[in-house]
Symmetry: C2
Subunit: 349 residues, 2 copies
DNA sequence: ACTCCACATGGGAGCGCTCCCAGCCTGCTC
DNA sequence: GAGCAGGCTGGGAGCGCTCCCATGTGGAGT
């Protein structure tokens, strides 16, 4: 009656103490019976479990976190507009991998958005309070201070993507990235092998390492071509379908003799394909197209697209595994992992 | 050295006790200085804040949750495949509204996935441990026991969508839904007003109330038409673009004289539009099309689409407000809110 | 029969925080 | 100049849990 905390329904929620009393044992025994059951007699075990069930006991996670020093959950932080977050299948796929791995380890995954500067500041303060045992951050733009700041607070961080600059040396910060440079190079070399000489690129955002890396891969191959890497042969996109279409139109406008396009992801390839078709170009006869990603379940995006596959689900799993390793304080084989990509040739080249 | 909890970096993270000592005051005073600052002298206030900054103090959220009985964060639970979650802009939009409202109230939002039965069971156990002060659940299929179960555990629940059956009477469970029945009716009546008599429907999943409600809205209007509501005039979709296209093809196959289509969301309308075009039908001359949703920022999905607008962002905000009201134990004006929709006429009718 | 040990148990300590309350010291009123 | 109200303060209690350790208990070994 006088418990201000009993706002829920009515009576006090059962505590371990109450379960123990109900079962006729002590708190310690009840605790052991409910977790693992080491050094607990069969009789006590059953009594406790029955009592817990009868009372509808649910352990208070805050209390457990307090004494254990960990919460049993980790965060997937996305620094991306929700527009993109929910429209680019890349995030879903990473999340799927992370999720799969964590479920296997009985760790709860929570997604948190950190888009605006205010939200990012808030995220830092929050995570420093240790509601999460570690965080995975995907989609890092520019020289984002957030990952380093969180890691410096002592919360293990894994970045999905590349890490540049001083952040590389923060011990509590690891990363998993695809070999974007090599992947892009393979894609463009494939176009060259198909006899293309006028190869354009529609890049990702250039404030992201991934955007710059794939651009650089393209440039390194194209610069060896007769025409070279003309500035007008690469246009900046933002990974959206619309930007892919727009990019293709701009490439065609500047280079009507365009015969190959490498886009920084498959979604933009879809946009480009549409724009090329509208411009009357046949694919692959007139213009060959290569994308990047090859996410499972997205065949519908651009059927028959030749693309560079990065094993995104497996990368998500690896991010989760890496984070769990750091949380447990075990040594890491490699702090900054780079996973290889494979070219998947289909009908657009 | 002997603290097993110091796995992070090196030394023990600062506690309020240490801040108090550093500032030369007691724990109580330090606590008051850091929260609100009632009954704290200017001198103490400054000393504590300086000490906290010097030590890099971050309050331990688990300890605070334990004593306060609340965590300051709420969950957005999505019982949807991540495929759909990340491909349907609806979720992003709800999330946006919820997020906006919560930020204004200084509450942390976390998203959690509960897709498979195992995950849903896990979600129930987890949320019963009160890591969240309340949850918003969107995308409820069938007679999903999860919302009721969580509410019964004493955790306030708001459902984004309609609630049917016994769950309606659970006090700790509220909902916010669009007036799908009226909205669908308006859409179909508009088609009738445009002189259409052969009006098909591509529904949402019929295991969802929203799918059934919009279907019922269509049926109630169409059944008054000369042709009536032939079973072959409605096909079940799943809110995806592909299912919209497939639905339109099936409608055309069964009814070549089709002159109107109402789809249960805009994404399916896009698919239908594509299929109609492929089949050589002109829109709106031959076939008029009305969608549902009209989400902000999705003009690109189906330009010029006539559709039924539901105020999804505002609905998200309302879900958040409702949940916060319940968490604070204040009475609710209406437990099951239904918000009106508006028809937006554009070029496809 | 006696020792010994493994298992089982209860209860104290303590995680880091907020609340409460008694006590203090001002400064003001009469 | 005594009395009193109020602002500040310190420290105890306690949130619900897990760990640790001292203390039983039984059965196996000699």
């Amino acid at each position: 009656m006088e418990d201000s905390r009993a706002a829920d329904g009515g009576r006090q929620r059962p505590t371990l103490e109450m379960v123990a009393a109900e079962a006729g044992v002590s708190r310690g025994t009840a605790s052991r019976a409910l977790n693992g059951g080491h050094n607990v007699s069969r009789r006590a075990m059953e009594a406790v479990q029955a009592a817990a069930a009868r009372l509808g006991y649910r352990p208070n996670l805050a209390a457990r976190s307090l004494v254990l020093g960990r919460s049993g959950s980790i965060g997937l932080v996305v620094s991306e507009s929700d527009e993109r977050l929910f429209s680019d299948p890349y995030f879903a796929t990473v999340a799927r991998g992370v999720h799969a791995e964590l479920m296997a380890h009985d760790v709860q995954l929570v997604l948190a958005l950190a888009q605006t500067p205010a939200e990012r500041e808030r995220m830092l303060r929050w995570s420093a309070g240790r509601p999460l045992d570690g965080v995975i951050i995907i989609s890092v733009h520019g020289a984002d201070p957030l990952p380093g700041a969180i890691a410096t607070e002592g919360v293990p961080v894994v970045i999905g993507g590349a890490v540049e600059g001083p952040d590389r040396d923060i011990p509590g910060l690891a990363s998993v990235d695809a070999d974007n440079l090599a992947g892009a190079r393979t894609a463009v070399e494939h176009l060259v092998a198909r006899g293309r000489t006028r190869i354009g690129h529609i890049s990702g955002p250039l404030d992201m390492v991934v955007g710059r890396d794939r651009l650089e891969g393209w440039r390194s191959v194209v610069s060896g071509l007769p025409g070279g890497a003309l500035p007008t042969l690469s246009v900046e996109g933002d990974f959206s379908e619309a930007s892919g279409a727009e990019g293709a139109r701009r490439l065609l406008a500047a280079h009507p003799d365009l015969d190959g396009v490498f886009t920084s992801n498959d979604v933009m390839a879809r946009g480009a394909l549409g724009a090329l078709q509208q411009a009357g170009r046949r694919v692959p006869q007139d213009v060959a197209v290569v994308g990047f990603d090859d996410l499972p379940g997205t065949e519908g995006i651009a059927p028959g697209l030749t693309t560079v596959r990065q094993p995104v689900i497996e990368m998500g799993r690896q991010m989760a595994r890496t984070l769990l390793t750091m949380i447990e304080g075990r040594p890491l084989a490699e702090r900054h992992a780079v996973v290889p990509t494979t070219l998947v040739v289909r009908e657009t080249t």
